[in-house]
Amino acid sequence: MKQSEFIAKVMPFKDKVFRLAKRLLVSTEEAEDATQELYYKLWKNKEKVSEYKSVEAFAMTMTKNYCLDRLKSKQAGNLRLVHDNYEENNVGLSKRLDDEDSVNKIHEMIKCLPEQQRIIVQLRDVEQYEFEEIGKILNMQPTAIRVALSRARKTLREGLVKFHNYGVS
């Protein structure tokens, strides 16, 4: 496979990979490293890549595995808490001041979810994948995904309700 062909095939989902990595690793730098690592691996195995039916699902699976490995390793243990650099440049400033608190709160709550639920929320609510696609990526049954997703969404709802009733949780 030529380089241009390869780029055309793998570049469209680079942001999805990055966002999934960021959701799991939290730090932007770590997520960038993970994305680079993934593309490096894909590039090394570029002959195999052309054989896969869905390169995207394959890449997302690899990203997930890589990030979970990183989280397990000691190195990432402290990064998880230290780097917390969310940037919301795209929301208007006045709105941003109002929302900032609750947006941060939501990020915080998502961070507290179990890793698998975090991945599912990311893939479904942010990236808007179909359940079958998520099933392919995580190697799970769609019904199991539904259960996990429902649990995650309800946890978020609980947190939100608490937050809005008391201002703290």
Binding site: Y40, R153, L156, V161
Partner: protein, 143 residues
């Protein structure tokens, strides 16, 4: 959109039985400005999902990572060639030095041997003169 329908969709949403399209409707509703007050707490959640989708990686990084791979491949070839050349030259120079040393030793021994043979020849000449004395002595004392 009717409030009843939104509430219904929300209920389904938390059971994770909504389709992508229905979730899109919810997202749209919560991005508008007139959200019912008792549902306002969900607004930030859907807003958060939408704004998270805007996060992008700078493409420079990725191009660099692929360039890095290519370059390192070439460097690896150069490194292998260089180390190979070094090893070969080391061995060949050692061989040449050994050969030269052997040649020198050979010459030295040859010179030493030829010296011995000339000295021995001198000794032979002297000895033959001694035989002459013996002959002369014999001829004198026989008579």
């Amino acid at each position: 959109m009717e409030l009843v329908k939104i509430e219904e969709l929300l209920e389904k949403y938390f059971e994770a039985t909504t389709t992508l399209q229905e979730e899109g409707e919810l997202r749209e509703y919560f991005s508008s400005d007139d959200v019912a007050s008792h549902l306002l707490s969900y607004k930030s959640m859907f807003g958060c999902f939408t704004s998270d989708l805007e996060k992008k990686i700078s493409s420079k990084l990725l191009v660099k990572s692929m360039g890095r791979e290519k370059r390192s491949g070439r460097f690896r070839f150069v490194a292998v060639a260089a180390s190979l050349a070094l090893v070969v030259s080391l061995f060949s120079s050692k061989y040449i030095v050994e050969k030269r040393q052997a040649g020198q030793a050979y010459e030295d021994t040859q010179r030493a041997l030829s010296m011995i043979s000339t000295e021995l020849n001198k000794g032979n000449v002297a000895m033959s003169q001694l035989y002459k004395y013996e002959e002369v002595k014999n001829t004198i004392f026989k008579k």
